[in-house]
Symmetry: C2
Subunit: 765 residues, 2 copies
C-alpha cells in the first residue's frame, strides 16, 4: 500500500485513456461490429397502449426479397420469459401488448430498408383494452390490469421482490415498507405537522448511443456484442431465456456511448439473439433514439411527505408514501422502489419513520435503473419539503438543516454502516460559495440549498480483476467494469500505475468479454472506483508479491530486505532489477507472464435494513441561485454550486467532469425534460420535442467542489461519485425559485408554463 | 487426481468440440473478420531471386482511385527488423531482394482488384546479382552472399544462435555441433565403415487456409487477428518491430485452418500492421496459395552419414553432417539445424558421435518450422542408412535394429531425460502387423521398417491456463493453445470434464486473445496435450479445492470428509450440493464465479545437451509394403503400418486421425512433393503442379496402432503425438522400395521418374 504522501499518479489529473480513440472516431461501438453474413434486425412495435393480440400474419413479410426471417410469437414457445426483478417480459408479445411501443414482431433482412418494408407488411390484429397510463389511473378500483396474472416466478435471487397477497388483483407489482420507532406516536407529540405531495416526470437516459446489439448464434453457442453495463448479468439472463449453460453465452462489450442505468440488465438482446437463432445468421439490431425512448425510462413518481417537528426545529417523525410508475414491465422497478424508500430517509436525524413504497404497473414505457436509482425522485421531494418546514417554522433553511443533520459516525439506520463524512462541512462550504444570506439586489432572484445522501456501492458487491505483467514489463488490466464514459478505465489504470510504480502508458485495459474477463456483477451504483478499485489494487499487490519473491530468488536475499520503486526492485545493496529483468529471470526466457488476481465480496449482514451493509455513503450538496422571468415563468440558473464527497479523488479532472455531467443531467429533469403521453402514446420520443439541456441552458456560473477527507473504503480512501451531483440540483433550484418568487412548485420540470401557472395561482390567492 | 480405472471421459472417443462450427461453415477464420472501414492489402513481390533495389516509385500507384496507401521502404525507417532466430527481415525490401517472392512493396485499397491494379503501377528498378539457390552453390568459395552483413543482432533470448567467426564471410548462417566420445577413434576400431549422402526436397505446409492477417492500428494500440500458432510470441515480435509495450499489442486468434509449423513466429503480420498504420484503417491481407508457397517451407537438406560398426552388428561410431537450406531469411533455421542435429542421433545406442549441422542462406523461399522440425529430414537419412548397414552386414534390418535399440530408461544423451518407452515393443508390433519376413509372392514388391525418436514438448515450456466456473455450474476454459486442427480443444476439454466430473458439454473453450488469455509460449513441438494438459488439469484441481473449501463451509464439515462425484460434493452423511449450489452459497447470490489457475514451467538443466530437459520422447515406428512398376518407376503403397507411442490416448479417435494425417503428410514428401526452381524462380507454387497426396494415393491398407503404456508426463500418463507418424514413413517406404527392386534411393521424393532413373543406373552397373 502506497502512503498518502507518496502518491504519484493517484490524485493527479490524467487525460482519459479511452479519450483518443473516442475523439478520433476510431473507437468501435456495437453498431460498428461487422460479421460475415451479417443481417439487420428491426422491431415491429405495438401502436396501441393496451390490447389483446388476436392474430399475427407474417407471410407477406417473409416473402419480401432480402428478408431472412420474421420472428413472431409462433417462434418463441421454447424460450423463457425474462426481466430484471420479475420474469414478466417475453421476447415478442404473446397474448397482449402492454404499451405503445411493445415489441410485437421482428424482421431480419439484408439491410434496414428491406427490414422496414417487411415490418409494414406484417398484419397484426388487435382487440383494444382500456389503458392505464398514470399512477392514479392504475390504482383506481376496478381498473384494467396490465398483468392479469402476477408474475408467478419472482426474481430467483432476491426473494424480497414478492408482491404481497393483498395486491394480487391490482396493478401494484411491488411493495416495500420501512419503519423505525412509532411515527403515529411522534406525530401526536409534534408541535407542528407538515404534509405535501410531489410529482416527478418520466424522463429518459438519452445516451448518445441508443441500445445496440449484435448477436450470433452458432449451434448451442451465443455470442453477443452489446452496449451493456452488466455483461455478466446479461449472460445469465440470456442463458436463462435460451436454456443454455452460461459457459455457452459470451458477451463482448465494445466501446459504450453512455448508459446511465439504461443499459443494465436485459433489454433488446433477447430479440436480437432470437432473430439470429431463427435466421442462422449474425444479426445487428441498432435502435433509433425513438426506440430507446420506448425501451426504458426513469420512474415517474408521486411522493407524499409528512413531518412532525418540534417548535425549536427538531424533526421527530416522518411518514413517506412513494408511488413509482414502473410502466408495462417491472424491469428493476421493485428494486428501485425499495431503494427509493430507503433513500427517502435523507440526511436528517428522525427518530420515528414510516416509509411505504409501491411500484405500479401502467401501460407506458417500462421504467428501471437510472443514475440515482430512486433517489433523484425522493431527494427532490425531501429537500423541497425540508425548506417548506424550515420556512413555516420561521427558520433559515440552512440553520434548520444544520440542526437536524446526522453527524459523522451516526447510524443512518440501525445496523447499517454509519455516516462516513461530515454533512455539516459540505453544506457550509456550499453556503459560503453561494454567499448564502446575502440577498441579490435584482428582483425575482433567489437562492436555494440542498443536502443529499444515498447508500452506494451496490447490493451484490462481487467483483474481481486480474493483472498480466508481460516479460517486457508492460501491463494488461482485466476488469469487468464497463467504461460507460465515467472514466473508470483511467481511474483503475491510475491505481495500477500507482501500486506498481510504472507510467500509466504501460497499462492497457483489455476488452471486456465474459468468456475471459474475471467476474463483476455490474457497473452501477457508483461502485467501480471503490469495489473494482479494491480488486485492481489487490491484483497489483498480488503481482508485487510475485515480483518480490522472484527478485528475492534472483538476488538471493530475503524479501523483507527488498524495496520497490519506479518499476524496479532494489536489494539491500541498492542493486536494481527492472520488472522486465525479473520476469525474464523468473521464467528463464522472454517467454512468460506474471498474473495477479484480486477480488472483493460483500459480507451479508442480517441486521442491515437491506440485508447487506452499505459500502459507502454518496453525499452531495447543492446551492442554486436563479432568476425567474415574471412574464414567462422561465427560470434562469444564474449560479450553481455542487459539492460532492469523493473521499479521495483518484483523478480530480475526471471527478469534476463527472460532477459537471451530473449537474447537467439534473438541470434536464429540473427545468426541461418530461416524456408526454397522449391517448397512451408517447408524443415526444426524440431530441427535438424532448428538451435535454443545451449549452445555452447551463448556469452562468458553475462551481464544483470535491470534498476530500479520505473517508471512503476504496483505494486511498476514495469513494464512488457521479450520482451525488444529480440528486442535489432539483431541490436546490426549486427552493431557489420559491425564494425568488414566493411560489412553491410541487411538480417537475419547472417549465416556464408550469412556473407561470404557479405564479398565477399564487397571485390569485 | 482421477484413478486410471475410474476414467470416464478421458480415454474415450469424443467428437471434436470445434467440429460442428467447422463442418457447418459457421466457423469464423481470420479472412472472415470484418471491421468498419476495412481495406484490403496486397503485396508486390520481387520478380528476381537476387538484386539490388535501385529505385522504387509508387506515385502512379498512389493515384489510383480507391487506393488508400502504398507502403515502400520509404515508410519503414522507424520500424525494426525482425525474425524468429535472427532479426534479418525487414517489412519490405530495403537494399536488396533476396528471393523471387520477397516483399518489395504493399498496397491497401478499397478492394483487392484495385490493390492488384495499383501493384502493377509500382515501378521498381533492380540491379540483378547472381543468385545461389542450392546448398552447393551457396557454399562455393567466392559465391554471392545472400546477406553481406551477418545479422548483428542475434536472437535476444537464445544466445546459442550466433554464427561462429569463421563463417562470417560465407552463406552459413548458423552452425551447431554435438559430440560424444571420440568418433575418430571409434572409426579406427570399427570392422566396417559405411557412408552415404541423402538429399531431401523443399516442401510446403499446404494448410487449407493460407496466411491471413487482419490488423488495426489505433493510436499506440495494435490489434491483430491472425492465423497463428504462437500468438504470444507474435505479440512480442510486433511489440519489438513497432517499439511498443507488449500490453499495447493484442493478438486474437480466430479459427485456424491448419498450420503445421508454417504459422509460427512472424510472417506477414508486420506488413499488414504497417499498412494499417500508414492507411489509418483496418487492413485485411489474405494471401493466395501461391503466396503462402513463397512465404515459408521445410528445409531442403543434404545429410552425410558415416557409421562404424562391428562385425557382429553393433554401431560404435557415427559422423553426421547436415546442411539445411534455410532460404533467403533465417526464420527458425538455426533452431531447426540445432534440433536436426540433436535428433539425428536416432533410437540406437552409439557410444561415439560427431554431429555437425549448418543452416545455409540461399536465394530461395525461407524455410522454418514444419511438423517434425528437422527430424523428418535426418530420420529419413538415418533409417535409410540403418537398412543399408544391416544389409551390407548381411543382417535382417529388424534384427539389426533390435540389437542396437536404446532400452527404456537408457539415456538418449548424457544429462537428458532417459528414453521413456520400449522401442523394441513397438517395432515388433509393426513387424508383426506387416508380416515381416513373409515374402509377398508378387514381383517387384518389398517391405521396409523404420524406428524413430525425437525430443518433444518444446524448449521453452512455459504455459498457463484458467478455468472459470459460473454460478450455474458451467465451465469456461481459457487456454493459450491454438486449435490448429489437431484436436487440442477436445482433449483439453476432456481433461477438465474428467477432473471436475461434469459432461464435456458443460465446457466451452474461450477464444484466444493475448490480452486476456493466460500465457502460453506456442502451439508446437507436440506439446499441448502434455504441457497445456497439465496446466488445465492443475487449473481444474484449483477449482476443485475452492469448491471443497466452500462446501466445507456450507456443510460445516472438514474438507477431508467430503467427496466429489458427478458435479456434486457430498458430505459424510451423503448429503449433496451441486457445483451450482456451492457457488451460489459461496457468493451469497447467483452472482459470482470461481476461477482456477494452473501453470507449467520447465526446469533449465545445464547438463542437458540443449540446456533444458526433454519433456518426453516422441516415438514412432513405420512399416511399408510397396509395389514398384518396373516400366514407369511408379511406387504403389500396398500397405502401411504406423505405430505411435501416445502414453495414454486422451481421445483415441482423434489420436488415430492425427496419426493418419501424419502418414498422409509423409506420403507427400516421400512420393510426390518437391518445390522446383528454374532460374531462381519457384515454378510450381500451386496445388495443380505441386502434388499433395490425393485420396487415390493413399495406401491400400492403412493400420494405425496407438501404443499406450501411460509412460508420458502429461495428464493420465499421456504424451504428445502427431509428429511421430510423419517421421517413419519416408525411410520405411524407401527401404521397401530397395527391398522390392534392389535399388537404393538417396533423394526424395520417389517420383516415378527418379525411381526409373535409379533402376536404369542400377541395371547399367
Amino acid at each position: 500500500m502506497v502512503n498518502p504522501q507518496d502518491l504519484k499518479v493517484v490524485g493527479r489529473d490524467h487525460s482519459r485513456v479511452d479519450g483518443e480513440a473516442k475523439v478520433t472516431g476510431r473507437a468501435i461501438y456495437a453498431a460498428d461490429i461487422e460479421l460475415p453474413g451479417i443481417i439487420y434486425g428491426k422491431i415491429l412495435r405495438s401502436p396501441l397502449a393496451h390490447a389483446r393480440l388476436v392474430n399475427i400474419d407474417a407471410r407477406k413479410a417473409e416473402r419480401v426479397p432480402g428478408v431472412f426471417t420474421v420472428l413472431t410469437r409462433e417462434d418463441i414457445g421454447r424460450f423463457k420469459h425474462f426481466g430484471s426483478a420479475y420474469k414478466d417480459q417475453s421476447i415478442v408479445a404473446v397474448e397482449k401488448v402492454r404499451y405503445a411501443g411493445d415489441p410485437v414482431a421482428a424482421v431480419a433482412a439484408e439491410n434496414e430498408a428491406i427490414a422496414e418494408e417487411a415490418l409494414s407488411l406484417i398484419k397484426a390484429q388487435y382487440e383494444e383494452i382500456p389503458a392505464v397510463t398514470t399512477i392514479e389511473e392504475a390504482l383506481e378500483p376496478g381498473c384494467p390490469l396490465v398483468h392479469e396474472l402476477k408474475p408467478a416466478e419472482g426474481n430467483l435471487y432476491a426473494h424480497q421482490y414478492q408482491v404481497p397477497e393483498r395486491f394480487k388483483e391490482t396493478n401494484i407489482c411491488y411493495h416495500y415498507e420501512y419503519t423505525k420507532g412509532n411515527s403515529d406516536e411522534a406525530f401526536k407529540q409534534a408541535d407542528f405537522i407538515f404534509e405535501d405531495t410531489y410529482t416527478f416526470p418520466q424522463v429518459q437516459h438519452c445516451s448518445m448511443e441508443p441500445h445496440v446489439t449484435v448477436a450470433n448464434v452458432e449451434g448451442d453457442r451465443i455470442t453477443v456484442w452489446a452496449a451493456t453495463q452488466d455483461p455478466f448479468t446479461l449472460r445469465e439472463h440470456l442463458a436463462g431465456i435460451f436454456s443454455l449453460p452460461q459457459s455457452k453465452v459470451r458477451v463482448i462489450v465494445p466501446f459504450v456511448g453512455g448508459a446511465f442505468g439504461g443499459k443494465l440488465s436485459v433489454k433488446m438482446e433477447p430479440i436480437t439473439v432470437a432473430l439470429s437463432w431463427k435466421a442462422r445468421r449474425p444479426v445487428k439490431l441498432v435502435q433509433s433514439v425513438e426506440e430507446s425512448f420506448k425501451t426504458i425510462t426513469r420512474h415517474p413518481a408521486r411522493i407524499r411527505l409528512k413531518s412532525g417537528v418540534t417548535r425549536d426545529g427538531r424533526l421527530i417523525g416522518r411518514e413517506c408514501e412513494i408511488y413509482l410508475n414502473t410502466g408495462a414491465y417491472a424491469d428493476a422497478g421493485p428494486r428501485v422502489a425499495q431503494k427509493a424508500a430507503y433513500r427517502s430517509i435523507g440526511p436528517y436525524r428522525i427518530p420515528h419513520l414510516k416509509i411505504l413504497a409501491y411500484a405500479v404497473y401502467t401501460n407506458t414505457v417500462p421504467a428501471g435503473a437510472f443514475r440515482g436509482f430512486g433517489s433523484v425522485q425522493v431527494t427532490w421531494a425531501n429537500e423541497s419539503h425540508t425548506d417548506i418546514v424550515a420556512k413555516k417554522l420561521g427558520m433559515d433553511p440552512l440553520d434548520f438543516r444544520l440542526k437536524n443533520l446526522l453527524k459523522k459516525g451516526e447510524p443512518y439506520t440501525p445496523g447499517d454502516t454509519p455516516v462516513d463524512c461530515s454533512l455539516r462541512e459540505g453544506l457550509l462550504r456550499v453556503a459560503k460559495t453561494l454567499a448564502w444570506g446575502q440577498k441579490n439586489n435584482k428582483r425575482n432572484t433567489g437562492k436555494g440549498l440542498s443536502c443529499c445522501i444515498k447508500d452506494a456501492g451496490g447490493s451484490y458487491k462481487i467483483a474481481s480483476a486480474a493483472i498480466k505483467l508481460a516479460a517486457d514489463g508492460s501491463i494488461l488490466l482485466l476488469t469487468g467494469t464497463v467504461e460507460i464514459g465515467q472514466g473508470a478505465f483511467t481511474a483503475l489504470s491510475q491505481v495500477v500505475a500507482e501500486e506498481l510504480d510504472v507510467p500509466i502508458e504501460q497499462i492497457t485495459v483489455a476488452q471486456l468479454d465474459t468468456d475471459v474477463t474475471p467476474y463483476d456483477v455490474a457497473t452501477s451504483a457508483s461502485r467501480s472506483t471503490t469495489v473494482m478499485g479494491l480488486c485492481v489494487q489487490r491484483a497489483a499487490w498480488d503481482v508485487k508479491k510475485q515480483l518480490l519473491r522472484a527478485a528475492s530468488r534472483a538476488f538471493n536475499e530475503n524479501v523483507a530486505r527488498l524495496s520497490m520503486a519506479k518499476g524496479k526492485v532494489y536489494n539491500s545493496k541498492s542493486q536494481a532489477l527492472s520488472y522486465e529483468e525479473i520476469v525474464i529471470r523468473n521464467f528463464g526466457s522472454k517467454w512468460g507472464e506474471m498474473v495477479g488476481f484480486g477480488s472483493y465480496q460483500d459480507k451479508k449482514d442480517k441486521r442491515a435494513a437491506l440485508g447487506a451493509l452499505t459500502v459507502f455513503w454518496e453525499v452531495s450538496w447543492g446551492g442554486a441561485e436563479v432568476e425567474v422571468d415574471p412574464e414567462t415563468g422561465a427560470v434562469k440558473l444564474l449560479k450553481y454550486v455542487s459539492a460532492t464527497d469523493v473521499g479521495k479523488a483518484i483523478n480530480p479532472l475526471n471527478c469534476t467532469a463527472q460532477d459537471e455531467g451530473a449537474v447537467v443531467f439534473g438541470i434536464g429533469h429540473t427545468l426541461f425534460e418530461e416524456m408526454s403521453y397522449s391517448d397512451g402514446h408517447l408524443i415526444n420520443p426524440n431530441l427535438v420535442d424532448y428538451h435535454v439541456p443545451k449549452f445555452s441552458d447551463l448556469p452562468g456560473q458553475l462551481h464544483t467542489d470535491l470534498v476530500e477527507n479520505r473517508n471512503g473504503p476504496g483505494p486511498y480512501g476514495s469513494k464512488g461519485m457521479g450520482e451525488g451531483g444529480i440528486l442535489a440540483i432539483a431541490p436546490a433550484i426549486t427552493n431557489a425559485v420559491a425564494d425568488a418568487i414566493g411560489v412553491r412548485m410541487f411538480s417537475l420540470p419547472l417549465t416556464p408554463e408550469r412556473v407561470w401557472q404557479g405564479m398565477k395561482i399564487h397571485a390569485g390567492r
